[in-house]
């Protein structure tokens, strides 16, 4: 570990940077349909984005047909000075979306400031193009910043859940080994039963706690809805225009509320809960089995740290690549982390609020499940021997010998 430690740290810094750079090398081809010539194409220049402006004579229908038949990733349609729509063939375009919004603001502010004088800030705001993003394939809105926040929150929660409970399992194994009570327990139950009993026992505690939290959150949401539901309705898609008109509200603020409501009403809570439970349980079981191996290889809790640390590296890399998962969810890197069993619970949670292909979900779940079975089988063999070994810290080579000999 003394030699490998710096290597791991290096990996932690180099791998995400390399993967991100690799990903940003990819070119995004956008078709620009701007019949009234409202946008200065110079503003859209970016190293990894190529823009092709469609002819002025093209009708909107022709523009859509051309876009559908071409290799363009997205079609940016500037409808009028206040409205533009980004049609996207990919499922995600958070990065592109944010970049364009920023550009429009710069473009119009400068344009109007140079041509017009005496305009108030509020009037100037209204001149900014409101960008609407939508999927070209399905008639569904693309991910919003609200969903991005939710995905990050789910990723962090599942990471904390898995870490908290698996550390409990690890501590339990070590305590039983150091206090030598395992000798009494092993005279009554088989090593595999003892190992699985501990893992499942703490797992059930975690599910109980999770259920209680879920129930309390549900009750809180129900109470909030009962109290403020009517007020929130004023800002939904059906009533927003009327609300702004009747109450003389700040449009920007009202639209932000509308976006929040749209985000939350669009969340498939049931799907998230089901996926969360699956990935939490499987992630917990997988990491617990690995921790059982670690516990049987050491003599004291302090010795576990250097064996646990390398395991957290893929998770940390996974979090550092978070933006890549959102911007390019179908890139090989994003797919690899969604399938790799040590990172799939977190990577899948990060991308869960967005559309994820069914094949990827099935593949990720299957790989995680099979990994759990294999790891538990190996862990059972190492645990059986390791839990009765005292005094020496076991090398990985020796642990492999235990697998062969048992």
């Amino acid at each position: 570990m003394t030699i490998l430690g710096p290597l791991f740290f290096g990996m932690l810094m180099i791998v995400p940077a390399w993967l991100t750079l690799k990903d940003t090398d990819k070119q995004t081809h956008i078709a620009l349909f701007d019949p009234d010539n409202l946008l200065n194409i110079e503003y859209l220049k970016k190293s990894n984005i190529s823009i092709t402006k469609l002819e002025k004579t093209t009708t909107s229908q022709e523009a859509f047909i051309r876009f559908a038949q071409s290799q363009f990733t997205a079609l940016l349609y500037i409808q009028n000075p206040q409205q533009a729509t980004l049609y996207n063939k990919q499922k995600s375009s958070i990065g592109l979306d944010a970049w364009l919004k920023n550009l429009f603001y710069e473009h119009y502010t400068q344009k109007k400031l140079s041509k017009t004088t005496g305009l108030s800030t509020i009037e100037l705001d209204k001149l900014v193009i409101k960008l609407k993003s939508q999927s070209f394939i399905e008639d569904e809105p693309l991910q919003s910043q609200g969903l991005v926040g939710l995905s990050l929150m789910l990723g962090i929660i599942i990471y904390l859940f898995i870490l908290t409970y698996t550390m409990q399992v690890l501590r339990g194994f070590i305590q039983e080994k150091t206090s030598r009570i395992n000798e009494i327990l092993l005279s009554s139950v088989r090593p595999f039963q003892l190992m699985m009993g501990k893992i499942l026992g703490i797992g059930l505690v975690s599910i109980t706690q999770f259920t209680i939290w879920l129930g309390l959150t549900g009750m809180l949401m129900f109470g909030f809805n009962a109290q403020y539901g009517d007020s929130l309705k004023l800002f939904d898609n059906q009533h927003i225009e009327e609300t702004i008109r009747n109450n003389n509200l700040d449009i920007q603020q009202a639209m932000e509320w509308n976006e929040i409501i749209n985000t939350f009403s669009g969340i498939a809570v049931g799907k998230i809960v089901v996926f969360f439970v699956f990935y939490f349980i499987m992630g917990y079981l997988l990491y617990s089995a690995i921790f059982a191996v670690i516990a049987s290889m050491v003599d004291a809790e302090t010795e576990t740290q250097q064996l646990v640390f390398p395991l957290t590296i893929p998770i940390l890399i996974c979090f550092s690549l978070y933006q890549t998962f959102i911007d390019a969810p179908e890139s090989p890197v994003a797919i690899f982390f969604a399938i790799f069993p040590l990172t799939s619970p977190i990577a899948m949670m990060l991308r869960l609020p967005f559309e994820t292909p069914l094949w990827l979900v099935i593949c990720s779940m299957a790989v995680l499940f099979i990994s759990f079975i294999i790891t538990t089988w190996i862990a059972g063999k190492i645990y059986k021997t390791g839990m009765l070994m005292y005094g020496n810290k076991t090398s990985i080579a020796e642990a492999f010998r235990w697998i062969k000999s048992s």
Binding site: E176, I181, N182, E183, I184, L186, S187, S188, L388
Partner: protein, 299 residues
Amino acid sequence: MELISLESINKKYGTLDALCNINIAIKKGSILGLLGPNGAGKTTIIRILTGILLPSSGQYLFEDKPIHKTDFRKIGYLPEERGLYKDMTVYELLSFLGQLKKMTRNNLNKKLSYWLERFELSNFATKKVHELSKGNQQKIQFITAILHDPELVILDEPFSGFDALNSKLAIEVILDLNQSGTTFILSTHQMHTVENLCSHVAMINKGKLILNSSVAEVKEQFKQNRIKIQGTGHLNPHAQTFRVLSENKSTIHEAILEQLPQYTSKDILLELMQNFSLSSFQQVVPGIEVIFIKALKTK
């Protein structure tokens, strides 16, 4: 009838032969002393007996049948290295360990009350284990080995950590249970315990069984043809049947004689009585400790 039979048991750890061809038969109702220097293989034998380890080869019979996993419930075990869940109460801990041995709730409660009472721990049932003194924790550990009425109890250094009073209590419990038919295996370095309690002895060295017999037979095997006498009179230095090894005339005339080959105790007695008035005449029998050292040296 044999309760346990180990037949040609071998155990290998990688290339190391931890046990070589071990054959031990333990009679029902006996108390076997399992002896051997550190690292001899005693723990490995105990782990095989308790089902924690499987032998590499050989047969393990329980009541003359190959041992079945349910038979392990009939075995109680007190390991040398003591360990308990310190944050559980005494009642919770004993209940948990009793349940692992498939005790019914009724039986468990009945036995728990009895043993806590017997070991003077009734007032500690709701206390957490870490609140108990070392001696009381030791008693709890002892109870875990006998709580489920096992047919065989394996005690590894059972008296370490006990003061004289508690050791006496533990010995009484062992003898009571043995009286009612429970078989015991004691692994200990306290030779006087083996001498006082055990009916049989098995000695292991470097993974091999070097002694396995009843205590009486072992003593007979290691007796040194020495006789201790007390009385008054004169000991003939040129006697035909014996040789005087040591003599002490300070308070009472006492001597150790070596019985010469081809002569019996009766011959010595007859020759002695010509010049010596005997008040005591007894065969010197070596203690288990002497036998232990001698056996290690010779084998």
